[in-house]
Symmetry: D3
């Protein structure tokens, strides 16, 4: 297992997001398996629409392919998991998406998950993915922060909006666990838990833990040849 690592791919080109994901990995590094977070430099700066999500897939696949010799497995770090099953077709290594693992982890902590989306546009994309996963009956709701991109740069404002959204998911929709529907915001997790009294899942952490488990246990899908 010398130089090989779990590769966490941020499919957008925003290195600040990648850095946030990287810091979130720290609690899992004690297990001994190297974890490397990488950026798809020719990806979009952010993934806000299905078109951007779909256009981000081929460069993500190409990067993963190029890194496979050094990889023990992959985490796909964009909520809604664009290209998840495509990547599984191209590698026999473990592949985990942050949406699937984030929700699975949440559903061990509560009965109905509330999802905090960054933008309203993301919601239909999420709903299609929840339907494909067959988990709709355990989703309490999916609500957006209602901030502009400019406002997202303001951390306090973002946390306040997350707390407000989390409380609506709890009180109006009946959520008993929350999932952050985005990557690179692990730093806010604790504050959101304090504000809502609910467990909060940061999905990159959940996915990396799941991937490390599969690596340790030798558990992978069977890729479908063409």
């Amino acid at each position: 297992m010398t130089g090989k690592a779990l590769i966490v791919i941020n499919p957008n080109s925003n290195t600040a997001v990648t850095a946030g994901i990287d810091r979130a990995m720290d609690p899992l590094r004690a297990w001994g398996t190297p974890i490397r977070c990488v950026t798809v430099t020719d990806g979009p700066h952010g993934i806000e629409s299905q078109a951007q999500a779909d256009r981000a897939v081929p460069p993500m696949l190409d990067l993963a392919r190029s890194m496979e010799p050094d990889a023990l497995g992959f985490v796909l770090a964009c909520f809604s998991d664009p290209g998840l099953h495509a990547l599984r077709d191209e590698t026999a290594l473990p592949v985990v998406g942050i949406m699937e693992a984030g929700l699975q982890t949440a559903l061990r902590l509560g009965h109905r998950a509330g999802v905090i989306a960054i933008l309203p546009n993301s919601i239909p994309r999420h709903l299609r993915a929840f339907g494909a996963m067959g988990v709709l009956s355990r989703i309490a709701g999916d609500r957006a922060l209602g901030l502009t991109v400019a406002e997202l740069a303001d951390a306090d404002r973002t946390v306040a909006a997350m707390a407000t959204t989390g409380r609506r998911l709890r009180d109006e929709d009946g959520a008993d666990v929350l999932v952050m529907g985005c990557a690179g915001m692990a730093v806010y997790r604790e504050r959101l838990e304090a504000e809502t009294g609910l467990p909060v899942v940061e999905p990159c952490q959940a996915a990396a833990a799941a991937a490390l488990g599969q690596i340790a246990l030798g558990l992978a899908h069977r890729p479908q040849s063409g």
Copy 2:
């Protein structure tokens, strides 16, 4: 409406498939709206895996974008509808996928649809899409022909395999309507109906009819901006 047309996009580069789709459009040409079938020349030769489907999306989107000035609407002619919602993000014109329209049409002709897939690999991809569409409770089954790609070149063998698969869907799975889970095979529809006694939907036809209806009625989605 002078030079504008409904554009039917075959996202693979196989022009024989495009030609088959084009012939299938004939019964709808009497309505007066031009229908143009185009090939994504830099797409894959065939779409057999999720990876190929995902990689086919950006060139498909680019072709659609380039043709938008001459378009009244789009049909996406690959069963499993790769890039359907991405295309909807990029244009305000009507966009219809052949899987969604093929299934919707089938569910007006019977209660439980049987889907004939070309390859076994396609089935998990179809199931994810059925889940996203929320139609799983009306799918009787999805079965593959069980032919190699070489054998698919033999028309009689293909029809025979389709009939066998259709009868299994009818007798073992309870299907009362069939959908051809592929594009460009309209020529076999009548024979398959005769062999099975069930109505058979060719999904490119179903999608083009649906798109022409939306065009006539001025019905389109609202694209999600970034």
Copy 3:
């Protein structure tokens, strides 16, 4: 195809409703197939309960039967589609219900449909039909206008109530597309789209387009003999 037409049956005896449906057909008449809208003169004046819906079926079936020699297909123009499957048992021609086609069309324009019902009584009837169709997971909500029958005569009041109801479906229930749960109100469609910013489906138009598609493509169910 000389004298034959698509027959749109209004199962209630209200000829003003039939006239509204007839005007809504205009955009589809360019396709060349005659469309005739007819009234079940011995039907109820309006269909407000399940009892009225069920009692309206036999005269509707009788009218359809008597018109079959001149018909290319039928549209059943009462939301909740009473007698839809019975009519399919009695004719081999294409038969489309406005609820099924209205919802199918809506689900190509958005992910979750909001249905505007005239009366609260209709909602359980709609919910049973949505369950039978297997589309419940894509219904955002079904809300009634909350007007008395007398108030419905006032067009401005009706439009205002529709807009209010549409906005509640959008903002509280998460609908991204609306369906008018009634026949003969196509004239309000544009205003409702403007008021809500969402695409709005008038279901008689959707059903007629779908029926014309089936006629053009030779696609019909197989009637079940006794």
Copy 4:
């Protein structure tokens, strides 16, 4: 409660069926409430298609209406419950359908119910009703006897076909309880239990017991006025 009775309505005109239902009521007569089984004399001789089911509703409603002064409640004795909700609109007395009560009773005896239909035609009708009831996830299967109407006259042949069908539902579909999808065959229940080792529900009995419970407890729906 002097002359009033629970009225069990057989919506077809076949008095032999009514007589069979009447005999099946005997175990419930010990409870003291009179049970009267009546025939809709102007109903169809049998209900085999959705068209026959729908056409049978108005005379059934009229008969019920005429009997309401002498009724404590109604059981609608045709599997698929045609007109059930219409009857609930027209009376404030308890109304129970044999399909709904038959299935509910079965789902207290096993986890997945197998339904024995008389004719293949009935199956889509049943499936629509199961969907409307929201019970699809607990239906193991619905299979028809595969006998002609002539062959149904032969009791031994009918029982043998029922046993064969019941065993297929048990062994291939995983049913752990059976429901007879027809009225007036209570006499075969015991033999079918012996042949399959599964509990068997005769739905007229189940519905009458449920209706008597509602009568005793003063439990009825609220009819929807027009």
Copy 5:
């Protein structure tokens, strides 16, 4: 049937609850079958968490076992039905749970049931049980009274909270029938019906009626041997 009775088991040790259940049985005693309500004296005083529910099962099973010689059947009188299937494994007599029967009865009186829970803690437990029963699509909502245990001792306050909760289920969630999610409160049923205008099901009554029906008809599950 000399000394045998339907045994209604209150799995908590609160004899006031048992007395309330016993009074609720009166309308069913006219049928002639003795009904005995018993308390699990070594059960918890109340069942408020899943842990308490699960810990209450073995003493309940033991009591049932000891009473089997005198029993015609059992009703398990704790909403969420803890130990229902375990009891079915240990006896061949009819066994009915108050949650399952309460919901089944409600779903014959309306299309979407609203459940009134005593405590917020109960809601995830209920949701898991609804999912196991496969009835989720017909649950309008499950809301708690929001009273402390001390406040529950005040009857007027309890009824007022029930009415408020029932109206929220009706107006916000769309419930058209209510189920009291607790045992021993039948005395409030009429007032809750008056306050909400909806039918209200007291689940112990519903379950006892269902059990008496099964006893009369000789309908029981097949216990699973070890």
Copy 6:
């Protein structure tokens, strides 16, 4: 974290099963967190019915409670997860059930999971749990080995029966991933993968990996107080 460990509780008293679970933990021990497998010595020798499962819960809870001072978290090692939510009520430490984690892991490796049950009796118990979890749409099937308890002692016979059952789940039911519906059989996992060509999940391993992830990330439910 000195002497504390992840506690894996085998709720039956069969120490051979506990030993099998313990060996299966080896690949996860490299992560550094101690894993202790313990036996509920006053549990049943095996858990074959719902009654045995329910009766096993209180001693399991008591053992967990007594061990909490030395625990970092718990795995409940009985497929069908009896007492899972009760244990979550009694501790604030992470708690993972082998059924929930086994299925979640499987659903990252394939689209439809096939479950191999030891005994036919287990299947309704599993189905209820799948319904409670909301995963039914992704279960291909649940089939029992069809061996007597005596035959299970023969390892070769057990593996052969597992392979046969796995192939039926794959070929008849469409499973693309398998879950062993039992604890302590990890030793057979590799052979079953070889025999079926599908990924196979041993659920104790899956649950321990998930629990270690929660421990590392500080992720736990919020226990419900009484």
